[in-house]
């Protein structure tokens, strides 16, 4: 590892030692952060997988009955039936802090429940009813999935970034600082020895002259 390009002075040595201390401390903190983030991530990702399994299952069922309804009635009737939905889903978004990562959080604002089925029952089949009922029940789960999936996504990003920082400190910064500190200490020691030798030399020269 290359040493830093600095002057081998006592002042520089002191400065580097402080930097090394900070780097070590930062490294420890970041490593702890990484551990905790991974622990949180595991919780979220397990939930994510479970939720996605469920949602995919239920959504497949509800789309199936919707397809059935479309097959039974004509296109025009279906489109007319759902052209004016009775409910409107409003969303309140906020953000939550997970390990200093801002992740989204949703809340459904229920508009006053008018009528779940915005059509007359005479014109369409019961498959459409069941499809819409199951979709309505599924919506909170879908939003939860959106929330958790985003959280996982962002946490994964952050964990990766954090790992880079930890590695940079551990394998670049800290060895570099240590090497430079060693170099400066050696250089200073060498200078000191040089000074002593010079003194001795001068002393013996003076003695010889006498």
């Amino acid at each position: 590892m290359a040493k830093l390009n600095v002057n081998p002075t006592r002042m520089e040595l002191r400065r580097l030692k402080t930097r090394l201390k900070t780097a070590n401390r930062g490294h420890k903190l970041l490593k702890d952060k990484s551990d905790e983030m991974i622990r949180q991530f595991m919780i979220y990702i397990k939930e994510n997988k479970k939720l996605r399994d469920e949602v995919e299952q239920e959504l497949a069922d509800s789309t199936k009955s919707f397809m059935l309804a479309r097959a039974v009635s004509s296109d025009a009737i279906i489109e007319e039936a759902i052209a004016m939905p009775g409910t409107k889903v409003e969303l309140k978004t906020s953000s939550k802090n997970v390990m200093s990562v801002d992740v989204p959080e949703f809340e459904i604002i229920e508009s006053e429940k008018k009528e779940l089925y915005p059509y007359s029952f005479a014109s369409v089949t019961s498959e459409l009813d069941s499809s819409i009922a199951s979709l309505t029940n599924l919506l909170p789960k879908l939003l939860k999935l959106a929330e958790i999936e985003k959280t996982c996504n962002m946490l994964a990003d952050e964990i990766e970034k954090n790992r880079r920082r930890v590695n940079a400190l551990e394998y670049v910064m800290i060895p570099q600082l240590e090497e430079t500190i060693k170099y400066i200490t050696m250089k200073l020691d060498e200078n000191e020895r040089g000074a002593t030798i010079r003194l001795m030399k001068v002393k013996s020269m003076i003695e010889n002259r006498n």
């Binding site: 990702i45 889903v89 979709l135």
Partner: protein, 110 residues
């Protein structure tokens, strides 16, 4: 934080049902149209559900939105059933964060 609504993007057959429960649906076809639609919607909506078939076509665009808190773009199975695109994303996340796939191991052995 913005209070955008929920949009659903995908082929008409898969997403029409969502209209009945009060979400905004945007039927699309073809890569360019999907891309344009998602791009426009991303500005106003906070949650976008997109069918897996459509999502698979614009993967690069989705990656760009992945790092931001909003919008949240979630792949959902289309009428043809789940393609595994959503699961693939979860797996990619795990690999990115931990370096090895530890949740899906058992499945791949079989």
């Amino acid at each position: 934080m913005r209070d955008g609504g929920i949009a659903v993007v995908g082929d008409k057959d898969s997403i029409l049902g969502f209209k009945a429960i009060g979400l905004d649906v945007f039927p699309v076809e073809g890569e360019t149209q999907i891309r344009d639609t998602v791009h426009t919607l991303a500005r106003t909506y906070s949650v976008i559900f997109i069918t897996e078939t459509a999502a698979a076509q614009i993967e690069s665009l989705l990656k760009r939105y992945a790092a931001r808190p909003y919008p949240v773009i979630v792949p959902i199975p289309s009428s043809e059933g789940a393609t595994g695109f959503g699961m693939k994303n979860i797996r990619a996340n795990i690999e990115k964060a931990i370096g090895a796939d530890i949740l899906f191991n058992n499945k791949e052995d079989k």
